[in-house]
């Protein structure tokens, strides 16, 4: 238990900015604005998460999404809130090896789960190959969708290694080569308003090829 980091009481810059309003000072943690609309303290659930290899425990209103838990309670602001309704993919994280939209996941339902966010991809300062490829191919413009794009792309390669087909696969009983059409279909849950798609596909194609050698 000693290595559990009880971060909900840790003062962070974001936490400070959020809790300086009088209405929110009474609350122990730094909930998102949507939650502060309710003044009655709700049921609080202990949630244990392993994030990027380190264990965390926090007490959360069960309404808290995994995205808000990461961003507002734990300070992992790499995962972005875009549409907050599962359409844009900016909040994509990897949970127990699978990519999901963290905005549609209740944190309490993920008690005990292992989570990888964009902050956990680099290895001691060395970029993950997918991050390096995105930089090399200029796979972004404004960068807001990028953490979600990269988490999604990393999971895409694992899914392909596991033999998953896609809607772009002519015969679903086969495991297709990752053509550009396959990559585009498999990345359709990540929207880029700057439309960096050609470069995103190029980055993923390159890492996929390196992985085969």
């Amino acid at each position: 238990m000693n290595d559990l980091l009880k971060l909900e009481s840790k003062a962070t810059r974001r936490g400070f900015l959020k809790t300086t309003g009088a209405a929110t000072l009474v609350l122990a943690s730094s909930p998102s604005l949507a939650e502060t609309a309710e003044t009655v303290p709700q049921q609080s659930e202990q949630v244990r998460l392993t994030i990027n290899g380190r264990p965390y425990a926090l007490n959360l209103d069960p309404r808290t999404t995994l995205l808000d838990a990461l961003r507002e309670h734990l300070g992992f602001t790499g995962s972005k809130k875009g549409c907050d309704q599962g359409q844009c993919g900016a909040c994509t994280i990897i949970v127990n090896g699978q990519r999901i939209n963290s905005c549609l996941a209740l944190a309490v339902m993920h008690d005990g789960d292992e989570i990888t966010t964009i902050e956990g991809l680099a290895d001691e300062g060395v970029l993950h190959p997918m991050q390096a490829a995105f930089v090399r191919h200029d796979g972004f413009q404004c960068g807001y969708c990028t953490p979600g794009q990269i988490c999604s792309a990393v999971a895409l390669l694992s899914e392909h290694r596991a033999g998953w087909s896609s809607y772009a696969t002519a015969d679903v009983a086969t495991v297709p080569v990752l053509t550009d059409a396959e990559i585009a279909e498999r990345m359709s849950g990540n929207i880029c308003r700057c439309s960096a798609y050609p470069n995103i596909v190029a980055a993923i194609r390159e890492v996929a090829k390196e992985g085969r050698q």
Binding site: E38, P62, R99, E159, S165, V172, A173, G189
Partner: protein, 327 residues
């Protein structure tokens, strides 16, 4: 989001008992429910988390079919080699829906029970008999291009959004449930959904606290299976029209046919009319057109969705042409 109490179910019996309480709801993947709760379209007082129940397996049945647990994710079902080889229609349909992120979270049971994507169901400033019974239907005179053309009423013209369920309907799937009193029952998927009539807010025949535990697929039917989806963009969009077809051709003639449409009704629309028109007919485009005409005979457009009627006929022809190997 309204406050709710949270309970993690450890067994099926207690899950059903908890969910039978007023204002309680099951939650599994949550990809639809959490979204609707944020908009306060759904406001359960209690959530019963069923994700830890042992319903995440795909098993062979003695009859040569598959039993898909209610908690098998859409991704896992589509990735299963038994599904891909024996029910390619189902794998195609699942992969045609949503995005990988959503399919990783969405479950088999939840997919069947997802709510409509009618824009007026989502717009809480507008009347909607499904969301607020008795308030009216804004879609009737509104922007209804995504709405249904078959089997609906003037109280609600919402379409069921699932792709997976369309394939399961063509495959004669059976939904297996457990009720709070412990009783189990099987519901043919075509009988799971209730027509809107005067009560569009009551969408299925499931009773309070009744839990879908699995979907049973009978042995795969003879013939070629094809799922075809027409939508506004190439990926990650709901169907305007989709067709799930199984076509068994003996030389020149159709020996057996299964046809189900998505995007046209409150449920996946199995068309006995189309199937009757096909069986015994030559496997030609003319026959496929006759089947389409029979399938859409009772269809009614509401203005912006009039196009769905000819689109459904043409999509059926294209799907059957492909299934017959004529394409």
């Amino acid at each position: 989001m309204n406050p709710f109490s949270y309970e993690r179910a450890s067994d099926i019996a207690s899950a059903c008992a908890s969910a039978a309480r007023p204002a309680a709801k099951f939650i599994a993947g949550g990809t639809n429910l959490v979204d609707l709760m944020k908009l306060q379209i759904e406001a359960p007082g209690q959530l019963v988390d069923i994700t830890r129940l042992p319903l995440d397996r795909i098993e062979e049945t003695a009859e040569g079919g598959l039993r898909i647990g209610a908690l098998v994710s859409n991704s896992a079902a589509a990735a299963d080699m038994r599904v891909r080889r024996r029910y390619p229609l189902l794998a195609q349909a699942i992969l045609a829906g949503a995005s990988t992120q959503l399919r990783n979270k969405a479950t088999t049971g939840g997919n069947l029970l997802q709510r409509t994507r009618c824009p007026y169901f989502y717009d809480t400033t507008k009347p909607c008999n499904k969301r607020a019974p008795g308030s009216g239907c804004a879609a009737l005179e509104g922007l209804n291009r995504m709405n249904a053309v078959l089997g609906v009423s003037d109280n609600c013209i919402a379409a069921h959004p699932s792709d997976m369920a369309v394939a399961m309907t063509a495959l004669d799937a059976v939904v297996e449930t457990v009720a709070p009193d412990g009783s189990a029952r099987v519901i043919p998927i075509d009988e799971l959904y209730r027509p809107p009539g005067n009560t569009p807010h009551i969408e299925t025949v499931l009773e309070s606290g009744e839990l879908i535990v699995s979907v049973l697929l009978p042995p795969p039917p003879a013939g070629r299976q094809v799922y075809r989806k027409v939508r506004d963009r190439a990926s990650f969009a709901f169907a305007l029209v989709s067709v799930a077809a199984v076509l068994d051709v003996d030389g020149e003639r159709v020996r057996a046919a299964r046809v189900a449409f998505g995007g046209l009704s409150y449920k996946p629309w199995r068309s006995a009319e189309a199937e009757d028109a096909l069986v015994g007919a030559p496997a030609t485009r003319a026959s496929f057109d006759s089947a389409g005409a029979a399938a859409l005979k009772e269809a009614r457009g509401y203005g912006h969705n009039d196009f769905k009627i000819p689109l459904a006929r043409r999509t059926l022809r294209a799907t059957l042409t492909q299934a017959a190997g004529l394409a």
